[in-house]
């Protein structure tokens, strides 16, 4: 009897999960299907579920041709790479110092970083914009990249990782006279590779998707990021929804691919962030 109950429980659970999964997938189904539709098919009443032909690539052609999405792609890749790699390197470097070296004011400095963690971006938008203007970085990639590189979360996370490695690993090297950079670079960092991957992917997704800051910093059309370009597809009067939905496919595909390929690390990293807090 108990056994039977258990099987039922699992079946009901499975059913509920399947329903939720289906609902989650509907928007994905819709953007893929709609990307092959003509404008007429998109706005037809009653709703047309499937396009007349799945080989109609007009939307894709228009997006990459007239609408220049290839260059927005390039901009996004420049920004994302420009943020992710320096952030990983510099945060780990700082994390090493916080985890392994004793120096004056260490705790004061560390706690002061917590403050940066709590500030909502909205609060610093105006002065930061002025700073970027004064530094001559307005309307440049560097204006997006440089303020996004220093990261409290990545530093904290990498510090945790380094602290979890046994001290005996680097102590003998230290006594043999190895420099700190050597210990960091050749001994500890290689042991952190899965943590680096996890935080790296999170940083990648975050910078790929960032919207508010690029919106403030970038002015000229040719420097738009994908998110600004997509937001601008939505016109004041006429919006061509078939193009918007095609853009959704084109822009999301790289991140979906990154996620599916690396999901083990990605999910591990996120799950850990909850446990560590």
């Amino acid at each position: 009897m108990r056994k039977l109950n258990k099987t039922w429980g699992i079946s009901i659970g499975f059913f509920v999960l399947a329903v939720f999964a289906l609902i989650t997938l509907v928007p994905f189904f819709w953007i893929v299907v709609s990307s092959f539709k003509t404008y007429r098919e998109t706005v037809q009443i009653p709703v047309v579920f499937f396009p007349a032909s799945f080989t109609n690539l007009d939307n894709y052609k228009e997006l990459f041709g007239r609408l220049n999405f290839l260059s927005y792609y390039k901009n996004n890749i420049i920004n994302t790479i420009g943020i992710t790699f320096p952030q990983l390197f510099l945060s780990s470097l700082a994390a090493y110092a916080f985890a392994r070296i004793d120096f004056p004011f260490k705790n004061v400095i560390f706690v002061s970083l917590l403050l940066a963690l709590m500030i909502p971006i909205q609060m610093i938008l105006m002065p930061r914009y002025k700073l970027i203007l004064d530094l001559g970085l307005f309307d440049s990639y560097l204006g997006i990249i440089i303020p996004s590189i220093p990261s409290v979360t990545t530093t904290f996370y990498m510090r945790q990782q380094i602290m979890s490695l046994p001290r005996s690993l680097d102590e003998s090297a230290y006594l043999d006279g190895a420099g700190h950079f050597r210990i960091f670079w050749s001994i500890l960092l290689p042991l952190c590779h899965s943590a680096l991957l996890a935080t790296g992917i999170m940083c990648l997704v975050f910078s790929w998707n960032d919207f508010l800051w690029p919106l403030v910093v970038i002015n000229s059309t040719e420097k738009y990021t994908l998110s600004i370009a997509v937001a601008n597809l939505q016109g004041q009067h006429l919006t061509r929804d078939n193009l918007l939905l095609t853009a959704a496919v084109v822009v999301s595909l790289p991140m979906v691919a990154v996620f599916i390929i690396s999901q083990r690390y990605f999910i591990e990293g996120i799950a850990l962030s909850g446990i560590k807090e």
Binding site: P27, L93, A97, F103, L115, L125, M126, L245
Partner: protein
């Protein structure tokens, strides 16, 4: 003179932390202090800021739009957060079964929306909920149900925005909660089985207390995310002024006042009040944490 090794260590440490710490000071802490000053000025970012004392703050408390933004912000916090965390906990529980078919696939599917650009998520939902040719109303029509004009009034528009946040964030929170659930030792459940406890007893006396650290983390994160919601409001309000005036949140108001109407001083004052609210919520939560989070 040979430098002592200890002092050399200090120099290395400062060199190592310098880029990150200086970067954070320059791009986070300095602007934070600076925005307090800007909030006492009238500044359109073209001419020099002009000191006007507390005027921005006085104006702030008399501005009905700000009150609306505050109410809307609280609405999303109070409605989305419990739904997000509640459904995530439910899904994490359903996923936390040993012999569940396709567990990994489910987790992947739930998580997928998290990696989509929020701007795009908002646009997809605007199209799917379009009153004339949207998928949702198309399906409702087939089922002979009423087909509301989703963006015609504030209540329905807010409902769609809550759905968007749920769709986008549930997977993330489910993953965190699932990790917490998997950490619970099966012995507790076995002991409860022997005592003949029902699933409800198990949930209330084992699962819930032991998952409170993760639950707490999710709650804090969900509340902060919901306060900071900008992208969805930006997209939903873009092509429809009436909708925009109904759903605007503080995060959106700060941006619009500063960069559309070029009232940097006024926008900064709103940003300060906004940050104080977020900060006090964070402090309240930290106090509350001590009372109801069980760390095993």
């Amino acid at each position: 003179m040979q430098l002592q090794r200890k002092h050399k260590d200090w120099i290395w440490a400062y060199l190592f932390i310098a880029p990150t710490v200086l970067g954070l000071y320059i791009f986070f802490l300095y602007p934070m202090v600076s925005s307090v000053f800007i909030s006492f000025t009238k500044w359109n970012h073209l001419s020099a800021p002009q000191y006007i004392g507390l005027s921005n703050y006085k104006r702030l408390f008399q501005d009905p739009t700000i009150w609306l933004e505050f109410k809307n912000t609280m609405y999303f916090v109070l409605v989305s957060v419990p739904l997000t965390v509640g459904i995530s906990l439910f899904l994490a529980n359903a996923l936390n079964k040993k012999h569940l078919l396709g567990k990994g696939v489910f987790r992947t599917i739930f998580f997928l929306p998290y990696v989509i650009l929020p701007v795009i998520t908002a646009q997809i939902f605007m199209i799917v909920f379009n009153s004339r040719y949207g998928l949702v109303n198309g399906l409702l029509r087939i089922m002979n149900l009423p087909q509301p004009a989703w963006f015609s009034n504030a209540l329905l528009t807010r409902f769609v925005i809550v759905l968007v946040t749920l769709w986008a964030s549930i997977g993330y929170f489910t993953v965190i909660l699932l990790a917490g659930l998997q950490n619970i030792s099966p012995q507790y459940y076995e002991a409860c089985d022997i005592d003949g406890g029902s699933w409800w007893v198990k949930f209330l006396h084992i699962t819930f207390p032991l998952v409170t650290p993760q639950l707490f983390f999710c709650l804090v994160l969900a509340i902060i995310n919901s306060f900071k919601m900008f992208d969805y409001i930006f997209v939903f309000g873009k092509s429809n002024v009436i909708v925009r005036e109904n759903i605007r949140t503080m995060a959106f108001g700060i941006y619009e006042r500063g960069f559309t109407y070029l009232e940097m001083g006024y926008a900064s004052a709103e940003a300060i009040i906004f940050s104080l609210i977020v900060l006090s919520v964070t402090i309240l939560q930290n106090v509350g944490q001590k009372h109801w989070v069980h760390y095993s």
